[in-house]
Symmetry: C2
Subunit: 378 residues, 2 copies
């Protein structure tokens, strides 16, 4: 087993700094304390070539951090890169191939115009689907329609996710959008892909988050309050979306969650950070992960169950929806949020009784998913 | 410890097929035999975005191979991606996080014109050096001059590496350039970066190679002749080349080699596959790895020591120089060559007494290096 013993946060948003400066913003708080023990660096990043014209990012990051000799790898699994990097870090310390892995999740997206960003991200679609011209937001629009039709969910129940997540994000100093929104504001914002509106889709953000992963045996030598990765699962699904039977259940998410729960022995964590690239996705994921019955996730939102003060808080961080979604950083930011919550260090957005939390980081449109259950007790 | 139990080879060269077809060419021979036991896929690739306009390559590859649900990650460490993927695969099976990892190394480079390819690859240089406009071949040119001046190596001794490696490559059915060259032909080819000539620099190639990595405990259930990864080391150096004291010793290569030798207990393997992106690099690497004294590697080439029939064969495969260098595939191709040699399955290019072999895969201009000692006996 492995543990997270430190987390560093950069501010998500439109940033003027270059990608190395952004990466360093979250990595330096960790390296300042633990430089001498770090022996491996993973950089979770997907699009440094496409967005920033940079390759070999892992090596540039270690150089920028003055850790020249350290082995490093860039880990890419599109939007699920952070989850994949956490999985790899856990494996590296469990195998003894590394003693202490600095994982830096980073993306700088704002160098390109929105249209270009959407086109680049859509390059993960299979060729036959690319020909039909969908983008990931347009798929989320389709899913929203399917979900409402299949389960009779009112349109407002989806928008309510954005209201909740923006309220949470306003309490998160690292979040991109720190602005409380009313239901009317969400429903009145511009239609991006029918029926989804501007505030229901994660913004294009720059940013980084870093964590330090060590074997559970040594965790207490780093901190009094390690947070253990008690279970972690990774699963995938066909890249060809036309092969999917339904959009309203996501098999990769379901399977990754099942593995994480089985390994950890925690069937019901106390809270979760999910991959709400669009509002409807948070709801569908909360069902695929078994937190709510299929078709009933929207009711949990409507009833306030998923609020910070609710029975099962989801995205207390603000989620991708308000915190932002710098692609390579997202999964690490989720793990870092769970880490802070379990340590009771989440400030105004602290959830009660946060003993075990789940993060679930998704790639593509459920093309891949990594779920981890993290907890205070081994 | 881990073992390689199967290898699949694609033809290196200019290919008309798309990157998924190229990846499948080497992966299918393995999946046809071992599909049911494979539970993780690593795709070693650096530039699918820049060269092919594709992201999420790992997911597209598993889908193409009809292994939809398998977790997968794209591993990038520029030219050292294959080495990094081998390191990750070893860690995954040693930690028990995976039981059997298919590693697919693939790159399709020929979609872009040579000038564009060189520009893209040079995007791994630091900003201040990029501004000065060097490319990786131009750095190799500088190194060649330094090496000749420092150690009095005759110009022909460098070209002799190309003669040897093309002679070897002509015996390798997977090699890009299967053509025996005379010293006159090498020395008479076009100057690319003074003093290095066309046949001294690896060509731009498409291609893939795949291997299957399992824990040593289960290796014999896959094959009668597993090849064990007895030691594997990874190390790096500053991305900023102006920080290097010298080019004629490569610290990342030296350190990675030391780790691999120490772990394996094999100080003197029987042969090696090195990263001869340019002829002079093979010589310098053979010294940094301790196979020859500093400044004497060129003599070993001149004396035939590194020939297939020599005392210490280097790049019996033809090396990057003649086999080609499809970036993400190279490290895996090196491991696969060592695998074949140790199993005695290298045909006309078989080296004698191949009990232990080393592969050394380098990234950038020594920015990173992975060295592994592989052997027939645990």
């Amino acid at each position: 087993m492995a543990a997270v013993v430190s987390a560093g946060f950069g501010k998500f948003g439109k940033r003027k700094e270059n990608i190395l400066e952004i990466a360093a913003e979250s990595a330096l708080p960790i390296t300042r304390k633990f430089r001498d023990s770090i022996d491996f660096v993973l950089v979770s990043n997907c699009y440094s070539g496409e967005f920033n014209g940079i390759s070999g990012l892992n090596n540039l990051v270690t150089t920028y951090l003055s850790m020249d000799a350290l082995p490093s790898i860039r880990i890419d699994n599109t939007s699920g890169s952070g989850g994949a990097a956490l999985f790899t870090a856990v494996s590296l310390v469990e195998s003894g191939r590394a003693k202490s892995v600095l994982v830096v999740g980073v993306e700088k997206m704002s160098e390109k115009p929105t249209k270009e960003v959407t086109r680049i991200i859509s390059s993960l679609l299979g060729e036959r689907e690319k020909a039909a011209g969908p983008s990931l937001p347009s798929l989320a629009g389709l899913l929203a329609k399917d979900y409402m039709r299949e389960f009779g969910a009112p349109r407002e129940s989806l928008a309510q996710v954005a209201v909740k997540n923006h309220r949470n994000g306003a309490l998160n100093p690292h979040a991109h959008i720190q602005k409380v929104l009313t239901l009317e504001q969400v429903m009145g914002s511009a239609v991006i892909v029918d029926p989804l509106r501007l505030f229901e889709i994660s913004p294009i953000s720059d940013g980084s988050t870093s964590i330090l992963v060590v074997p559970d045996e040594t965790a207490e030598s780093f901190t009094d309050k390690p947070v253990y990765v008690k279970g972690i699962g990774m699963s995938s699904e066909a890249a060809y979306l036309t092969d999917r039977k339904t959009f309203t259940d996501i098999p990769s998410v379901r399977r990754a969650g099942e593995i994480a729960k089985r390994q950890s022995g925690v069937d019901r964590p106390d809270f979760a950070e999910l991959h709400d690239m669009a509002t409807v996705l948070e709801i569908v994921q909360s069902e695929s992960l078994g937190f709510f019955k299929r078709g009933e996730g929207w009711r949990a939102v409507a009833d306030g169950v998923t609020e910070i003060g609710g029975e099962f808080p989801i995205n207390a961080s603000g989620g991708l929806n308000s915190k932002g979604h710098p692609i390579g950083a997202t999964g690490i930011a989720q793990a870092a949020e769970v880490f802070q919550q379990i340590r009771g260090e989440a400030g105004q957005r602290q959830v009660k009784h946060a003993e075990n939390g789940m993060m679930m980081n998704m790639a593509g449109f459920g093309n891949s998913a990594v779920a981890a259950v993290m907890g205070a007790v081994r």
